[in-house]
Symmetry: C2
Subunit: 199 residues, 2 copies
């Protein structure tokens, strides 16, 4: 339900307001897919058939608009993360990194927004960034204790890899991004004992 109107204080939003909100969201999604997250807000309002002031009335900043569009997508991502944490299959880490990367590459330019959203408390994307970082943190902690990654692997490694790979998907090929993920995950593997050692 992409166009779900967020209930504010008032119980029933005016019918035209709701329709405008939904149309703006739909057009913004289309524009962001075509032109990236910096697409012209004025063109979005035009395509939605409303005045530019209406867009600002519903979405006071570009980040609010992006945040609204990402809400559901975030939920399903978080559910995946929780599931991975619960089941702890061997490929949980790889699955998570690839899913988070795909999410961060939803729109071109989103990776930058997420990268700054992690530090910037004022950003509307901040809490979802924290949530993503937290899932990564807990996954890597589990992986560390299970001995399937190096002892010095950190949550920051995951967010760096995730955002960087998302950027790669936008600017180079999808395969290149996936390849970087593969290589980095291999680099995260613990040094294997060379001689007799444990097996």
């Amino acid at each position: 339900m992409l166009g779900m109107y967020r209930l504010s204080t008032s119980r029933r939003p005016r019918a035209d307001a709701r329709r405008n909100y939904d149309r703006l969201l739909a057009e913004a999604d289309a524009a962001f897919r075509e032109r990236g997250v910096d697409a012209s807000l004025e063109s979005i309002a035009r395509r939605a058939g409303v005045a530019i002031g209406t867009l600002y009335g519903h979405f006071p900043s570009r980040r609010v608009l992006v945040g609204a569009l990402l809400r559901e997508r975030n939920e399903t991502l978080f559910e995946l993360g929780d599931g991975l944490l619960a089941h702890q299959t061997p490929d949980a880490l790889a699955t998570w990194v690839r899913a988070a990367t795909a999410h961060a590459a939803t729109y071109s330019g989103l990776a930058s927004l997420l990268a700054s959203g992690l530090d910037d408390e004022a950003s509307e994307l901040h809490t979802s960034c924290l949530r993503m970082a937290d899932i990564g943190e807990r996954l890597i902690a589990w992986a560390r204790e299970s001995g399937i990654v190096r002892a010095d692997a950190t949550g920051a490694d995951l967010t760096a890899l995730t955002t960087a790979a998302a950027w790669l998907r936008e600017h180079m090929s999808l395969e290149g991004a996936d390849r970087l993920i593969t290589l980095t995950l291999d680099g995260l593997a613990p040094a294997r004992p060379t001689l007799a050692g444990t097996r």
Copy 2:
């Protein structure tokens, strides 16, 4: 000599033209450092004390301006690459990747420009991108034959890593970028024999 005037057809450029060219370059460098590669051209012209038309007269596009600023920096990078290829020390690959990354992170936003410059033949950055890719290609070929990286390691892996790490430097921490380089290089190492094996 950052401000070296490029000799065009005419032997002696007019004195004011040369001065404007140099001042524009200097102000552009400052602006790009402060605001990234998308800094306002109008403000650059203003700060250089010339009309906007003068900027366009010397630099018909933003990419030409960036290309002019990067020329010397490119030269020293290429010389480093050639040196590494000649000497073939064990850490040649790591040295190259870090140097190329630092270069691609000269200005914020440059990584994107270089990524597109590699494919776009019309870009003024295209030849230098090709040159960088070529050095990487030859370095990784040598490393492959020396057995210090996996057999499936490719030049594309290096450019992906380089540009992605440069983007990371711009958007997250310098250490995060370096860490990704370390992990990926580790991932590029050949699978070590687990039991008896060679050596």
